[in-house]
């Protein structure tokens, strides 16, 4: 198990669990359901938001919020 905020660009993974309730609801509704695969595609400079490709669109979230997102790292195919 890993924390999304610590993954580097290009890392691929699978959503597991989001510990912040409100954030969880919002992200679930946007399709970040457990088991959904994603790829980290961008990180803004100065510790700004990160962007992931998930469910065929690019989603950006603040690094602080990504701290509460638990993911499973997938081996590179």
């Amino acid at each position: 198990m890993k924390i999304l905020a610590y993954l580097s660009i290009g890392a691929k993974g699978e959503m597991l669990d989001i510990s912040d309730d409100l954030l969880e609801q919002k992200l679930l509704e946007m399709g970040c359901t457990p088991g959904e695969q994603f790829e980290v595609v961008r990180k803004a400079p100065f510790g700004g938001p990160i962007a992931i490709l998930i469910s065929s669109y690019v989603l950006s979230i603040r690094k602080e919020d990504a701290m509460s997102i638990k993911v499973k790292l997938l081996e590179n195919e």
Binding site: D21, L23, E24, M30, P34, P45, Y57, D65
Partner: protein, 691 residues
């Protein structure tokens, strides 16, 4: 037979093409206003569905679900879920981006489960097909149990069939709910249905999750007891429901959609992003775009503005000459027409600014701007999107404040609105130019022109104070709900010129009609104050100068001196004396409230008293003497005056637009007061230190 008006609500995710479809359906028959009591924009329009059926279409704010997280989303939820809402639709059209079907269908199935008449408009099916995403539209319609129609809102394709399907579906409710939510919570939903007296599983589930639906007062207590007894925790229940719903959606999608490679589709956008959100290049590009935007608003609009100015001056002249002389003539020319001209002159700036913003928004670039600037601006209580209003404020605060709408967090948007007028706008420029030429010598300082340096310092003062005040407000203003930054970064696309054009028209209309009313009212008040005097003072002045040639200037300045505005100017003299100002400057401060640049004109009129030469305002002011024979306009007075103009909120157009954008009289008043206090204190300190 009389024609029938159908109420149609347009719902969908942000970036799904909702506004484009709205424009395609309604054309220019649109109305933009606010929802009562809140600042969410309400767009409605009329569409002709057939010879007999007319439709009123409401464009709901973009939302991802019926469980709202923001004010915008709440409006969408309340419209769809409350049948006692005045906008409650007969039919809801959900528009879905075909390249992003999974997420769009989530919202759709929630609406289906409310047992509402709903039609799915699949946008950009052709583009999806090109990207290898093939959707079986008929099968999808059967699986969902509702009509589905493929459209391309931008090209206007499929709009005719959408209209036909809407007419044919007027009474066709979905055959069955998409998700059997009652099976997830054994027995609880049935009990909730009984308490609410309504047979609607999903609505009862929403009510259980503390959503406010119609008739809430009658059942809230009993429902809370039920969730307590059954140990239903809204957040957990909702998460469970959402996961189940997506599982079912995935099944439907697997059977109806042949997926292309998502990575392939993302490639072009990725290449552009390599430049546009590059850690160094990204900022360079952004600054260049800002520079261009600033140029456009500042210098390109100068030509049309000059034209409007000439037009209105001629119109005023023409009206003054053709109407019979007298009070009415003066009111129309110097009150109403002058006020009207003062409003219309802003239109080019608003048009240019919003052309740029709509363009940046529609291409998808704006989301990237937030992405790279969010961290930097968040520290001071602002948002990645505050940068556009702040910097456009350097041209004019009015369009700048209107552009703060793109900030989704209310607190961050409010702070942006509150500090934007501190930026040195173009109306301050003539004031600075006049005073600098008066009190700052044209010497060189470290190889730079001193006058230019002082000008730059005043622009910096504006920017720095905006940042500092934003930082302070971050701690004072209470935030409504928690702010998350969760944003989709849409794929880049060529902007839809029609959307850009409609945005410009809409913004100009809002400004002209909403803020315009207030501005005209204040103009008339100012006119009354400066055109009337107590008793027969004006007649006496006219008699005094009667028969003397070329005395118009003297007459008007003496009249101004004895008018109510003049009396107020004199009565505030004790208050402004510590700042180094006399009553003449006092009058100019008052009339500047119409627009800051009026200062120059008023000073020129008022200082013409007893001055027989016709010469430039600079020379005239330079010769003004104090009682002890020294020059009146010392550097101390000049700097104090400029600081006053840098901080004071002397712009009724800005106050009017702040009132409109915040929907509360409290905010323009607070803004007026805090800026006034800053102006007074800084002028006081500067004058006392320098003199």
């Amino acid at each position: 037979m009389s024609s029938k008006t159908l109420k149609i609500a347009l719902a969908g995710n942000p970036n799904s093409g909702k506004t484009t479809l709205f424009n395609a359906l309604t054309g220019l028959k649109q109305k933009v206003g606010n929802y009562p009591g809140i600042t969410v924009e309400k767009k409605t329009g009329k569409a002709i569905l057939s010879e007999k059926i007319l439709a009123e279409i409401i464009d709901l704010p973009g939302t991802y679900s019926l469980f709202p997280k923001s004010m915008d989303e709440q409006v969408a939820q309340q419209t769809i879920c409350n049948n006692d809402n005045e906008d409650y639709p007969d039919i809801t059209v959900v528009i879905a981006d075909s390249t992003n079907l999974r997420r769009s269908i989530f919202l759709l199935t929630q609406i289906i489960d409310l047992n509402m008449v709903v039609v799915l408009a699949l946008n950009m099916v052709d583009i999806a097909t090109k990207k290898g995403i093939v959707i079986d539209v008929n099968l999808l319609s059967r699986e969902l149990g509702i009509p589905v129609v493929a459209i391309n809102a931008r090209q206007g394709k499929g709009i005719v069939s959408l209209k036909e399907i809407i007419i044919n579906s007027i009474d066709a409710k979905p055959k069955s709910p998409f998700l059997e939510v009652d099976k997830l919570f054994k027995g609880v939903i049935e009990q909730a249905n009984k308490i609410r007296g309504v047979e609607n599983n999903f609505a009862s589930f929403m009510a259980l999750c503390k959503q406010k639906l119609s008739g809430e007062i009658d059942y809230r207590c009993a429902l809370n007891q039920l969730s307590k007894k059954e140990e239903i925790i809204p957040e957990r229940a909702q998460a469970k429901e959402t996961v189940k719903r997506y599982a079912q959606i995935d099944k439907v999608i697997n059977s109806t959609v042949k997926k292309g490679s998502p990575i392939g589709k993302y490639m072009l956008t990725k290449k552009i992003d390599d430049v546009l959100i590059h850690p160094i290049l990204g900022y360079v590009v952004f600054l260049s775009i800002l520079f261009l935007l600033f140029q456009a608003v500042f210098s390109w609009s100068a030509y049309p503005m000059e034209l409007i100015d000439v037009l209105f001056t001629n119109l005023q002249q023409f009206t003054a000459d053709s109407m019979p002389k007298g009070m009415l003539n003066d009111l129309v020319v110097n009150g109403i027409l002058a006020g009207l001209g003062g409003i219309v002159i802003f239109v080019p700036q608003i048009a240019f600014l919003f052309a740029f913003i709509a363009f940046l928004e529609d291409t998808g670039y704006m989301a990237r701007v937030s992405f790279i600037t969010d961290k930097l601006l968040r520290g001071v209580g602002l948002n990645g999107r505050s940068i556009i209003p702040l910097l456009s404020g350097a041209a004019c605060a009015v369009p700048a404040i209107m552009s703060a709408r793109t900030i989704s967090s209310w607190k961050e948007r409010l702070i942006t609105i509150m500090v934007t007028p501190l930026m040195s706008c173009s109306a301050r420029l003539p004031v600075y130019t006049l005073i600098i030429s008066l009190v700052i010598p044209a010497d060189e300082f470290l190889g730079f022109n001193l006058q230019g340096l002082v000008m730059m310092v005043f622009y910096l003062i504006g920017f720095v104070s905006a940042i500092v005040i934003a930082f302070l407000m971050k701690f004072i203003i209470k935030s409504k709900g928690e702010s998350y930054y969760i944003m989709e970064m849409p794929s880049y696309k060529i902007p839809d010129w029609k959307t850009v054009l409609y945005t410009i028209i809409e913004k100009v209309k809002v400004f002209l009609f909403d803020a315009g009313k207030i501005i005209i009212a204040i103009s008339i008040v100012l006119w009354v104050l400066s055109s009337f005097a107590p008793g027969k003072k004006f007649e006496q002045i006219e008699q005094k100068w009667a028969g003397i040639e070329n005395a118009e200037m003297q007459i008007s300045s003496e009249k101004l001196e004895h008018s109510y505005a003049g009396i107020i100017g004199k009565s505030i003299e004790p208050a402004i004396k510590p700042l180094g100002f006399d009553w003449k400057i006092g009058i100019s401060l008052l009339t500047s409230f119409a627009a800051r640049e009026v200062f120059v004109g008023t000073m020129s009129t008022i200082y013409s008293v007893g001055d027989d030469d016709i010469r430039s305002i600079q020379k005239r002011l330079a010769d003004v003497k104090r009682q002890d024979g020294e020059r009146f306009f010392t550097p101390a007075v000049g700097i104090s005056l400029m600081l006053f103009y840098a901080f004071a909120m002397q712009c009724m157009s800005t106050l009017a637009i702040v009132y409109r954008e915040t929907n509360h009289i409290k905010w323009p008043i607070i803004q007026f007061l805090y800026m006034g206090v800053m102006a007074y204190l800084s002028s006081f300190i500067a004058f006392q230190l320098l003199s």
